[in-house]
Amino acid sequence: MTEIQPTQFCTIVPPHVLDRLARSQDPALSAPARRTLEADAVQRTRRQLTAVAAPVPAPEATADVDAGADAEGAPECPQRTVHDCRNGTDLPGVVVRAEGDEPVGDATVNRVYSGLGATFELLLKEYGRSSLDGTGLPLNASVHFGDRYGNAFWDGEQMVFGDGDGEIFLDFSIPVDVIAHELAHGLTQHTANLSYYGQPGALNESVSDVMGSLVKQYTLGQSADEADWLIGAGLLAPRVTGVALRSMKAPGTAYDDDVLGRDPQPATMQDYVRTGRDNGGVHINSGIPNHAFYLFATRLGGKAWERAGQVWFDVLTGGELAVDADFARFARLTVSAAAARYGEGAEHEAVVKAWAQVGVETA
């Protein structure tokens, strides 16, 4: 094999991310990270080759509206800036790490910087998209927002992370899927722009959870059956009875705690929750499309970001997903996207079955 010329190649996920994961006390994280580190050279070579040799063109039926910009001249390196709010609420705060800077003394800053890089890399190398807007949008994040603020959000332009209260939530930058979840809100905003209420809102939330989990799996080099499919693993304080905030594999089982209450997510339409709160239950009913994606990806097997993730990405960016799309509309688009990209084979059958299992009609 000829040696690859490392021209124009930017190291986006630095090895210290994996170092950190490998040292993690969570064996679900540490074991695969160790394996990934061992296989690192091989993996990187493969990804580089994939990226160089075969940027998969989108089929005409689901052509990305931004695909032209992606293919020609869009930046292939991220432009990350991490700010520190120093526990105030003025955004964005002071710059503490800009693109290309060495790691700093603050682990939160470094985790977010790396998480942004991992998300950028997945979008670019697997889906051929340069950043959230397809044209290299700079990625900005702020950490240490507020006083023991137990939350993370996307403000329309950037991600914001709180430190957690330490009693229920730890630092929101800990799980890489949380970082990618927030970034994916930016991706949705720049593409389908799903409204943030009711079913389209739950789809907006679900797309972020799907991307979040895919970035975690990509970082760890996990296949669909190796992945934990949890959102926010490592985020709950030790005293909380629970493993994460959401489970795509088994919605409704992530936590059951005296203070936190019980995970309210349904897995199927039969248990769909009608509520006006939480923007019409956007973080609740997202369990249904989340579970459909899990069923689709695990039925296919292999790496979930490859075929299952590609189908979801095609729907999100394809230009046909309406801002007010409901679950059924989204589901039908995934069925046609699977057929357009892969034909009437295993992928098509798997996605139809997945939606049927969660009670969403695609016919």
Partner: protein
């Protein structure tokens, strides 16, 4: 004076409700003044929020104003924080 705060949404979608009565407190005057100012300047309908941001419903003696992350005024922020941390919690 009875002050209630309901916080909804957020990354976890976990709701919080807490209530306090200023009569029980040493800082009653200060809190009542803060609550009056929040009520006077607050939004009467929920402002548009951001993905995963918290939404707050602040009720003072039956009168309600709304706020959303990240655009809380400094006073709203202070009041919400005191009530959620020190008020009686319910779910």
């Amino acid at each position: 004076m009875r002050i209630q705060v309901r916080r909804t949404g957020g990354f976890g979608g976990i709701e919080r409700f807490a209530e306090l009565d200023t009569a029980d407190r040493a800082d009653a005057d200060e809190l009542q003044e803060l609550a009056r100012q929040v009520l006077a300047k607050g939004h009467r309908t929920p402002p548009v929020g951001v993905p995963d941001g918290f939404s707050y419903q602040i009720t003072v003696e039956g009168e309600t104003v709304y706020a959303t992350d990240p655009r809380l005024s400094e006073k709203e922020s202070r009041l919400v924080s005191v009530v959620l941390k020190e008020g009686a919690k319910q779910t």
